[in-house]
Amino acid sequence: MVSLNSYLMLGAVLFSIGAVGVFTQRNALIIYMCIELMLNAVNLTIIAFARFLNSMDGHVFVFMIMTVAAAEAAVGLAIIISLFRNKATVNVDEINLSKG
């Protein structure tokens, strides 16, 4: 049987890839995909915990996260489209996410 720590490591690696991607990628869609990767890393970690703790809470939580992520994707893609209509680009270099 695969140990809990292996799942946690995989989750952490996926989460880190997503988090790094948010700051290194320039395309808004790819940034959003990186965020989705982070959320899925979270889902994997929760499921692993839920399985090893024999607790149902985590399983329910994952469904909630998936639903919310879908709603967020609907809004996020609409936002990206409305930006594209005005600027004809989805490159975030001009928006500068990490500067105040």
């Binding site: 979270v42 970690t45 985590g58 939580f61 996260i65």
Partner: protein
């Protein structure tokens, strides 16, 4: 759970149900309402909020758990429900005139505003991390859209995308933190966590420490604590001004409520550890917020940095950690709500009347052109600066007193120095307002008080009354807040 119990629980969330139903009704009516008569949707939204206030009010809140331990119906939630409803009512009143100017579709605007209030209420009442997350997302998703409502303005588009991406990013951290706390305690319910963390060698539980740290990062993004504040100025500047005001007060209050719930109810045994983190954040947030506000020429950016600094003062109350500190936090949030909404309200009115009002310099001569509006703005700015006899002074006094009694004197000294720095940029606006414009008569022509829409005038009077009321007679608010925090301790 039998049907009767279910119905009984529904009465406990009556304000949430009313707001939600009104939001849905507005969406439906919006589809059928003829153009030009949509202004009535604002009245409907306001009626919904007032109805929710009637459903909210009760002399003595009963402390109980609803829906099998998912939500609390306690005095802490009661306090925040009232605060959110009051904010929503003020924002709706201030919004009425500006939406046409920004070419915003009315129906969705009010519906989303009401939905976001339900999210805030769920967040402040959450007894379970699932509810906390759902409340946060209901609130956030509605606000992402509200920020981007002026679809034809590039500035709003960019602010919206920035807020969305960083908001979703921070949700990831928030969830990852929740995951590890779940892994450490085996439960998502706050009460069960407190029980699980009551024993054992906590500081060496790596899951718990990692979870708490990640959760704190998520919270910091949402409240805009330094160093997680980068998005704030741009988003506050690009959003429609009523929404900026709304984000600056209500969203902050909701996230602070959730933060207090999680850290006091679920993680009290870790208090020595998180107090250390919070004072670092408090020092950074106050200082960076104030110093950056000093050099702003755009009034919305200035108020954005000022809101960051105020979050720093509120963190001083969190650092104090006592019942008194928590009470101070509630009083501060209430005072901050009214004075900040009031200040933004004046900015909204100037933008609406004159078509300008982005720069501090646009306010030149306002004090002569419209003495009432100028005086109101001066009171709000004095209150934000913390000058007696206004709400801002009383709030700072309670928070700092609590921190001194918890022997964080050095932190209070730093906060007081910060407040003194802040006086400079608030008073700069007052001085600009009362210095002569080139042609004050023409400004006055365009600006008579009589021309201020009655809705906005009403909201302004309420905000002004609350700011002075809390400043002169804080006793009743203090008692209410002190009663509210007993639910957490």
């Amino acid at each position: 759970m039998d049907g009767l119990q279910y119905l009984l629980d529904c009465t406990g969330i009556l304000p949430i149900l009313i707001l939600f139903a009104t939001g849905i009704l507005i969406l439906l009516l919006d589809a059928f309402a003829p153009r030009g008569r949509k202004g009535r949707l604002a009245a409907l939204a306001l009626a919904g909020v007032l109805l929710a206030m009637i459903g909210w009010w009760r002399p003595l809140p009963v402390e109980r758990e609803l829906f099998g331990g998912m939500l609390f119906a306690d005095s802490f939630g009661f306090f925040f429900d009232g605060l959110f409803l009051a904010t929503a009512a003020l924002i709706i009143l201030f919004s009425a005139g500006t939406l046409d100017r920004d070419r915003i579709d009315l129906g969705e605007y009010y519906a989303l505003l009401l939905f976001s209030v339900t999210g805030m209420m769920l967040m402040a009442r959450a007894a379970n991390l699932i509810m906390l997350f759902l409340g946060l997302e209901v609130l956030s998703i509605a606000i992402y859209i509200l920020v981007g409502m002026p679809r034809h303005e590039r500035k709003a588009n960019e602010a919206c995308l920035k807020y969305f991406l960083l908001g979703a990013f921070s949700s990831g951290f928030f969830l990852y933190g929740m995951t590890f706390i779940y892994g450490a305690s085996g439960s998502l319910s706050l009460a069960a966590m407190a029980a699980a963390f009551g024993q054992g060698d906590l500081p060496h539980n790596p899951y718990l420490l990692l979870g708490t740290a990640l959760l704190l990062v998520g919270f910091s993004f949402k409240i805009a604590l330094v160093p997680f504040h980068m998005w704030t100025p741009d988003v506050y500047e690009g959003a429609p001004t009523p929404i900026t005001a709304y984000m600056a007060v209500a969203v902050k209050a909701a996230v602070f409520a959730a933060l207090a719930r999680v850290f006091w109810m679920a993680l009290p045994s870790l208090q020595p550890q998180w107090t250390n983190l919070f004072w670092v954040l408090a020092v950074l947030t106050m200082t960076v917020g104030n110093v950056a506000a000093l050099v702003q020429t755009n009034i919305k950016r200035m108020l954005a940095y000022s809101s960051i600094a105020h979050a720093g003062y509120i963190l001083v109350a969190v650092v104090a950690g006592s019942a008194q500190g928590l009470t101070g936090m509630l009083v501060y949030l209430a005072a901050y709500t009214f004075m900040n909404v009031g200040a933004f309200g004046v900015v909204i009115l100037v933008q609406e009347r004159l078509g300008i009002g982005e720069d501090v310099d646009d306010f030149r001569g306002l004090g002569f052109a419209s003495p009432a509006l100028g005086a109101a703005m001066a009171v709000f700015l004095f209150s934000l600066a913390g000058i007696p006899p206004t709400a801002g002074f009383v709030a700072k006094f309670f928070v700092f007193l609590a921190a001194i009694e918890a022997s964080f004197t050095w932190l209070v000294i730093l906060a007081v120095v910060n407040s003194a720095v802040a006086v400079y940029y608030y008073l700069r606006v007052v001085i600009v307002m009362y210095s002569r414009a080139e042609s004050p008569t023409s400004l006055a022509d365009r600006f008579g008080l009589g021309r201020i829409p009655s809705a906005a005038l009403g909201a302004l009077i309420v905000a002004l009354w609350a700011t002075l009321q809390i400043g002169i007679l804080p006793q009743s608010l203090w008692e209410l807040a002190r009663h509210s925090v007993t639910a957490l301790l």
